[in-house]
Each structure stands twice: as structure tokens, then as C-alpha cells.
Subunit: 347 residues, 2 copies
């Protein structure tokens, strides 16, 4: 029988209150089912020309849904570096009537339905098909993050938008349908379930300990890197192998309120973490998500809401245990993942 | 721009309190990234012989981890039809010391760690490599369900086991590593996160309405099929396209307490639903999960805990929006999925 170097352990985190099972021996189980093909199929030889079928490439702007803004602005002489556009196949529609208060009344026992009002935008991170986010220099990554922040700020001003989920899908197994480097954001007319449970958990921790869960300094053995303003670490109860959280060291509820200097610092760290994952895990598909606070939160909630960015490389498939229980099985202990990631050059 | 036949809508369910966005237009978006290969690769020609590498096949019992029980029992003359065995690569280990009460104290702010004690078992549903669960007759499926119930009952008697998650992974995209038809169960020393949030939600509905969320009769338009004891329907706020719930019509907290007659009824309905999914969706990978109550629940909780079986065909990949927000985007309205499933022959 396979012997694990560490035996298994279950951990619960202080942000989502989720249990995770760490089981290194699991990674040695055999399979007689084919795993997925290369998750990030190479988008083809890089000849610098726009791909015939890619609407996100320079020169194909007319094939896209309407632009919201671009960087630099249209009247500037160099071509655009970043475009924020509407999603052509939006999950929620800006033309729908915003939900009226009575729409939120339950239909049936506790069930509830609202019209599909909301905003679904795409951030095209580069005009070039072959360039990945972490190929940009730190200033380039900063500008992408600033574009997120600017758009979130615009959406925050709409009275019916309760939350904006910023996220990036890179590679087919991470859900991406488009290869050209991009991110998305969805402004929702409700507070999504994971946001509610995060706030509930952080509130409980705060009420019991007087501390914000994310102001606690991460222990050295899970830390990957630190800058003046941010810590990057593998969370104590990481649901996924090599998952990384980038957290502002100073308490801060809203991502979009981060000032320009700090965003440059964040950009450098994000770029370095993506480099590390790319080197260590051979260019894995991944997602990242920005976890911020819902809009219009009462000021009593601010002391325990602390935004962060979560990076999740997609290395394994979710099975029935995770779907049913909400508890993940992670074959890699955070301390082991962090040690490996610390040792890799991130530049 | 693509026009949807229905416009999008967001719904929240009364069991998990999860928001889901229904957006039929989403299914028309293009992709330039390869999707996964066939999710359930055919395990090879059916020559009836055990596969050389499959330890779950008849005659290869010695390659498996220890047996817990078999059906029929070992002294009976026909060979086994079902075996419940230990998982050779368990996520939780029965040899680990069960957690002592003080292990559940938080380490750090709200974080918590316990030794990896627990039970991880495999149910081999047939001795034959090529037979799928829904190829068995109703009595055969009943015996598999009864094997689950018997093993859950055994685990319920262990004082440190708080919950048992029964689940099945079928096909590589549903997480399966073994092609031979099987299910699994994990007995955990903690109540998993989704179970906690399900109980919290159902409690709230009960306190507000005096009703158990799952005793409410499903409306005709989401119903797929009904027997004397069970309803099969697409839930009002299904997270996944063509997701089906099979729910006992009479209030009942624990799956493993279902009597034999009812289990036969359930078996017939489960077989029929799997047939329908297989026909409509071309043999999709899928998971099913049994959602039951945690052990040792106080009697005041029993009125709002109601077990059910959830079947989820795996048709799409989860992206960053779902991972970050906990809110799924489902391109198929439950009413539309139910109509299609009603019309397909399930025998
Ligand atoms: N010409 C054009 N103009 C403007 N927009 C265009 C466009 N052509 C395509 N688009 C949009 O561009 C987006 C590209 O997004 P991604 O590749 O990150 O994943 P997608 O949203 O398809 O789905 C993944 O992410 C979502 C959300 O997490 C999951 O629901 C899903 O299962 C997963 O595959 C799509 O949403 C598409 O609608
Ligand atoms: N000779 C033998 N004797 C006894 N047992 C043997 C054995 N050989 C293999 N096994 C066990 O058989 C099981 C087969 O299970 P599945 O195919 O349903 O998925 P698996 O558990 O691998 O992972 C899927 O399900 C889990 C839980 O949902 C997810 O964590 C994971 O990512 C997903 O791929 C494995 O757990 C394996 O350890």
C-alpha cells in the first residue's frame, strides 16, 4: 500500500469556513481513463498577424460588442493596449429592467427569481493574440488592473448592482472559450452565494477574536513572497493544489479603491506568481478571481471585509465528493506547495 | 447579436440558498479553444473477459484493498454481484486516531485542523467491466443502493463520524479515474461545508414558512417523473443544465433509513433518469450525490432535513465566475430541460 510522506489532515479556513482534506497519497492513484488533452493548446505559430477568427485582435474591433473604454483613449495616437468591451453573449443584460424591490420576494418556499439584469464585460488585455498577461511588463499588468478598478467603480455607481465579480479564465480546462488574453467581470443585482458565506464567516471570526481573518500575518511556511503592500501565500486550507492568495497587508475592503502605486506593486507580484506557476506546472490552465466587498455595505461590516486576489491553477477535475460536500481533496499540503513556489525564480 | 428565445433570469433556491443565472443565449458563444475529447471513452470491445489492468473485475479481488462486505455473502454459491471495499488510496484513513474534542479548537483566527481520520470506501457495482449501473435491472440497482445504506449505517455507528457523503463519478470529465462501474463514500469527522449551508438554509425557510423546503410539491413544469414514493424533477434553480433531483415524497431525514420497498422504487426511477440522460445527452459523464442529514442531529432539526439524490451531467467547464462567486451560469432553463426529459423514453 502506498505510504504518504505526510499523513492526511483536514483543515478549515477562516475566510470561507470551508473544510479541505489534504491527502498526499491520493496523487499516486492509478487511472485507466484518459485524462484531458493539453489544456492550453498552443494558439498556433506566432507570426504577429491577427488570427483570422479572433475578434479580440487589433484591427478586428468591429467584430466585437460595443467598447466601453480603451487605454490609451481613442484620441491618443498609439493604438489601444487594453479594451474594455461588452460581452457579446452576456449572462446578464444591461438592457433588462433592474429588479424592482418586490421582485426579491420569495416565489414558493424561500425560492426567489429576478429578471436577468446586470453587466457582463470583457477586458481585452493586449491587442496581440500570442501575448499572455504575464508577458506584459509590470506597468502593462498594472494598467489591466487599473482598467478593472475603473470599470468596477463605474458599475458601483449603478444603484441596482450589488457586486462585481472580476475573473480570468486562461486555458480550456479553466473554462476559457477564447484563447486571446482577456478577463471578464459580471455586475450582479444580488450578492452571490460565496460572497455571503465569506462575509458571514469573517464576521463570526471578527466577533469572536476581534480580528479580521485576512489581517492575520501568514506564517512563514506558507508565504511565497512579500512586497511592501502585499503578501502572496498558499492559504492554510487551500482547496486546490498550488492555489495562491495575494492579500493587501493593510486592511482594505474594496479592490477598486486601491491607489495607483499599490496597484503597480500588486501587478509586479501577480506577474511573478503567474511566472512561478507557469514554470513549476508547465503552463497550466488557471483562473484568478478578485474577492472584494459588496457595494453599499454598512460601515459596521468594513472592519472584517478585506479584499484579495485568488489564483487557482487547474490541475485536477472536481468529482462527486467535492460537488456534494463542498469539501475539496487536495493532494498537496500548502506548506509543501509554498516551499516549491518560493524556490522558483519568478522573474 | 444573438437573440435568446427567453431572456435571462436569476433564481435562488430554497435548499442551498444559491443564486443561479439562466442565460440561454450563452450557449451560442463561439470558441477557438479545443474542448475536451470524448468524456466517456469506450472501455474497449466487450468480450466479457476481465480487463488485464482492472482490479475491480471478477477474479482480480486480490489486487484490491480489503473487502468490507459483498453481495451475496461469501458463503453463497453464486459469485459476488457487488463488493464494498476499502479505497486503496484513501483521502481519510481509518487507522488514524479519531479527533479528540480539543483538536477542533481553532489554530490561528478561526482556522482549525484535525488529523485525517475517516473512512473512504469503494462500492463495485458489478463484477463485469463493461456493465454500467443503468444496464442492471431495477433489483440490481436496488441492491447497489441497499449496499450504500448498509455501509452508511455501519459508519453512523462510529462516534467520530459526523457525515457520510455517497457519490458516483462516471466518465473522466466527471472525475472518474476508474472506468469499471463503481461509487464511493467518505465518512468524515466533520460536517462538510455544503451540508452546513444546506441545513442553515432549510432551517431559515422552515422558521419563516413552517415548511420543509423539499416537502413542497414541485410544480408540473419542472417535474420529470413521479412514482408512489419519489419525485424526479429539474430543480427550480438548477446549477447545471439537465441536473435532476430525486426526492422522497414523504418527509425523511436520512437516506439510509429508507425501507427496502421504497429503495426498489427509487432504483427504478434512478435507472430511468440515467437512461434519459444517456439518450438525450449522448452518454454524458455525470456525477450523482446523496444529500442526507449529518449524524446525531438534535430532534428539533429533523423537521427541516430531507434527504435527496442529485444527478449532474457534466456538460460544461466551471470558470472563474462560478469559482469566485459560487453562482453558476446555466444556459438551460429548468422548465425546458424537464420538458425534454419528460418526452424521452426512460426504459
Ligand atoms: N466578438 C465578441 N465580442 C465580445 N465578446 C465576445 C465576442 N466573442 C466572444 N465573446 C465573449 O468572450 C468571452 C470569453 O470568455 P472566456 O473565454 O473567459 O470564457 P466564457 O465566458 O466563454 O466561459 C467560461 O466562463 C464562464 C464564467 O465563469 C463559465 O460559465 C463557462 O462555463 C466557462 O466556459 C465569452 O464570454 C464570450 O461570450
Ligand atoms: N486496487 C484498488 N483497490 C481499491 N481501491 C482502488 C484500487 N485502485 C484504485 N482504487 C480507488 O478507486 C477509486 C476510483 O474512484 P473514481 O474513479 O470515482 O475517482 P477518484 O476517487 O479517483 O477521483 C475523483 O473523485 C475524487 C472525489 O470526488 C476527486 O477528489 C478527484 O479529483 C476525482 O478525480 C479511486 O479513489 C482509487 O483510489
Amino acid at each position: 500500500m502506498a505510504e504518504a510522506s505526510r499523513t492526511s489532515e483536514a483543515r478549515r479556513d477562516a475566510v470561507f469556513a470551508r473544510w479541505v482534506i489534504f491527502s498526499p497519497a491520493r496523487s499516486r492513484r492509478p487511472t485507466d481513463l484518459k485524462s484531458h488533452g493539453p489544456a492550453n493548446p498552443s494558439p498556433g505559430p506566432d507570426d504577429g498577424a491577427p488570427k483570422p477568427s479572433c475578434p479580440f485582435c487589433l484591427g478586428r474591433e468591429s467584430e466585437c460588442a460595443p467598447e466601453i473604454f480603451r487605454v490609451p483613449p481613442p484620441d491618443a495616437s498609439p493604438p489601444w493596449r487594453i479594451r474594455v468591451i461588452e460581452n457579446l453573449f452576456p449572462a446578464l443584460r444591461r438592457e433588462a429592467a433592474p429588479p424592482a424591490p418586490e421582485d426579491e420576494e420569495p416565489v414558493g418556499a424561500g425560492e426567489c427569481a429576478v429578471r436577468g439584469f446586470g453587466f457582463h464585460d470583457v477586458v481585452i488585455e493586449t491587442p496581440h493574440h500570442e501575448v499572455r498577461l504575464w508577458d506584459l511588463d509590470a506597468e502593462g499588468v498594472r494598467d489591466v488592473l487599473l482598467a478593472y478598478a475603473r470599470r468596477v467603480q463605474q458599475l458601483a455607481e449603478h444603484p441596482a448592482v450589488k457586486y462585481v465579480q472580476v475573473f480570468k479564465n486562461q486555458g480550456a480546462s479553466a473554462g476559457a472559450s477564447m484563447a486571446h488574453s482577456h478577463s471578464q467581470m459580471l455586475g450582479t443585482p444580488f450578492v452571490p452565494p460565496s460572497v455571503t458565506s465569506r462575509l458571514n464567516c469573517m464576521k463570526e471570526v471578527f466577533e469572536r477574536s476581534g480580528k479580521c481573518s485576512l489581517c492575520v500575518v501568514p506564517s512563514k511556511d506558507i508565504l511565497v513572497s512579500e512586497t511592501h503592500n502585499f503578501s502572496a501565500f498558499v492559504p492554510f486550507a487551500a482547496s486546490y493544489p498550488f492555489e495562491i492568495w495575494i492579500v493587501p497587508r493593510q486592511h482594505s475592503s474594496y479592490f477598486h479603491e486601491t491607489d495607483q502605486d499599490k496597484v503597480l506593486d500588486l501587478a509586479g507580484l501577480l506577474k511573478s506568481m503567474l511566472h512561478k506557476l507557469c514554470k513549476q506546472l508547465n503552463d497550466p490552465p488557471f483562473n484568478y478571481m478578485i474577492h472584494s466587498a459588496p457595494f453599499g455595505l454598512s460601515s459596521s461590516c468594513l472592519p472584517y471585509t478585506h479584499w484579495f486576489l485568488q489564483i487557482v491553477p487547474q490541475l485536477s477535475v472536481i468529482g462527486g465528493f467535492e460537488m456534494g460536500s463542498g469539501c475539496h481533496i487536495n493532494p498537496v499540503f500548502p506548506e509543501d506547495a509554498a516551499k516549491i513556489l518560493r524556490e522558483i525564480d519568478g522573474s
